[in-house]
């Protein structure tokens, strides 16, 4: 069967797509940004120098240096010269509404809905398998990630992504878990926006409780439906907000 007019398979074409040479640098930057977002590294804290960073992460000094300069350019770290100099985690480095809005406006509606579709497929698959494999300890852990209605938007965003990661952990599939992590990285700080809306928080809080109950009761279908509702609530919110741009 011919997949393209030229008669070459589309998957073969993908093999010859150039590989991004900056992969490793981006990876190091991603790790540090993630450490900041999860509170492991805090504003004002001194970062290791490039030699220490390189040896800690098992990358070359060149990669570490490039990563530090990329982080400096994106405002994650600031550098001070002199005897008490070095690299420090910048102030106001946490994901902000402004940055999230900028990200939202960079995306097309097509990109948002396609990403949501992929996210939904993976998360629902996790939920279905999780419902089959859950035990009592799993459910206790899962419920510990349900945030309180008055938590701030940053903790809500973190709790929502941790909740879905826990669903993947209960499903006990390494592949699905890795895919979910990748998708959450693609979503970036976007998910911060709806978390500032009390209505969204009320709605998703109820869905999280339903999902946990369905996984506890080994009801795969209900767990899948709940997870899909959670993601579509997020997508609807983002698409509504994005439309205001026009």
């Amino acid at each position: 069967m011919l997949l393209s007019p030229e008669g070459t398979s589309r998957s073969l074409a993908a093999v010859f797509t150039p590989i991004k040479s900056r992969g490793l640098v981006d990876e190091v930057c991603g790790r540090i940004e993630q450490a900041v977002e999860t509170g492991l590294l805090t504003s004002g804290q001194r970062l290791p120098n490039e030699t220490e960073l390189a040896s800690a992460l098992g990358v070359s000094a060149v990669t570490a240096r490039e990563a530090l300069s990329q982080l400096r350019a994106s405002g994650i770290i600031r550098t001070a010269r002199g005897r008490s100099g070095g690299s420090f985690i910048a102030d106001n480095v946490l994901p902000s509404r402004e940055r999230a809005l900028a990200q939202l406006h960079d995306l097309s509606r097509l990109q948002i809905s396609d990403l949501a579709l992929h996210y939904e497929a993976i998360a629902a698959a996790c939920a279905g398998v999780a419902a089959r494999r859950s035990d009592a300890a799993d459910i206790a852990t899962l419920r510990s990630f349900i945030p309180a209605a008055d938590d701030d938007s940053l903790s809500w965003r973190l709790a929502l992504s941790e909740f879905l990661l826990e669903v993947a952990a209960i499903a006990r599939s390494a592949r699905l878990a890795r895919e979910l992590i990748r998708l959450q990285a693609d979503l970036g700080t976007l998910t911060l926006l709806p978390c500032a809306d009390p209505d969204y928080r009320t709605c998703t809080g109820l869905i999280l409780a339903d999902v946990a109950a369905a996984i506890e009761a080994h009801e795969a279908r209900a767990a899948e439906t709940g997870v899909k509702a959670l993601i579509s609530a997020t997508t609807d919110w983002l698409l509504t907000e994005q439309a205001k741009r026009y």
Partner: protein
């Protein structure tokens, strides 16, 4: 550790060990071997840390731990995908932990960025593989679970508390990560000799490796009646005939 334990049902255990008993003994030797190696390492690490007379630094810990990890992960036919030591708060400073953990044959450092965090202990206190050996002072096996911190693989983590003095507080833990995939290759020949539905399960009855096609690693299972039960290591069991719940 390798005794054939209770028989459920009417069949009496044979006087002479049969092929199934020998296969179960092999599995037990594999798991118990990992547990014993870890206990020896914990004792050696405790003694060496104690000899540092209170001046424990990250560099000193690395120097102590890395050669052992290298030996464990590079052992031909070895089971360790990764291994290391995590300090309990107090050893290097209050609220501070220290992770000296590497994975893979080229010794990739794990979570090393956490060593630059002033509150790194918060990362480990909730994790079962750290919390339980610290709280109980006993060895523990966690999993199988998807290990987000290290490999993102489906693994078992064997951990053992480290004491610098016999009556002292837990100074930290040593641990070995074993991927389910690696264990499966070692365990399948033995399981097949035990039976077509023989299943290696953890203490919760969760399948680690099964010879049955309808039981996947991670599924909750129960022994059929009748069924032979073989103890494997400290907490695992092989059921000669299991069913998915």
């Amino acid at each position: 550790m390798s005794e054939t334990t209770s028989t459920t049902g009417s069949l009496a255990a044979p006087a002479e060990p049969g092929p199934a008993d020998r296969a179960a003994a092999e599995l037990d030797a594999t798991i118990a071997g990992i547990e014993q190696r870890l206990a020896v390492w914990a004792a050696e690490t405790g003694a060496a840390l104690g000899a540092l007379s209170g001046k424990v630094t990250g560099t000193a810990v690395d120097k102590l731990i890395r050669p052992v990890v290298a030996e464990l992960v590079q052992l031909p036919d070895g089971y360790a995908a990764g291994a290391g030591f995590i300090a309990n708060s107090g050893l290097l400073g209050p609220e501070r932990s220290y992770i000296a953990w590497w994975q893979g044959a080229d010794l990739e450092p794990v979570d090393a960025l956490a060593n630059f965090s002033p509150n790194s202990i918060s990362r480990y206190v909730k994790a079962e593989w750290f919390r339980i050996p610290v709280e109980t002072g006993q060895a523990h096996v966690t999993g199988p679970y998807v290990d987000f911190l290290c490999t993102d693989e489906y693994v078992l983590t064997f951990t053992h508390p480290v004491f610098t003095r016999p009556d002292g507080p837990v100074a930290g833990i040593v641990g070995i990560d074993v991927t389910v995939q690696r264990l499966e290759r070692g365990a399948m020949p033995s399981l097949r000799r035990i039976g077509g539905r023989a299943t290696l399960v953890n203490g919760d009855g969760r399948a680690v490796v099964s010879a049955a096609s309808d039981i996947d690693a991670g599924d909750l299972t129960a022994p059929e009646v009748p069924c032979q039960h073989y103890a494997v290591g400290r907490t695992f069991t092989v059921w000669s005939d299991a069913a998915r719940l």
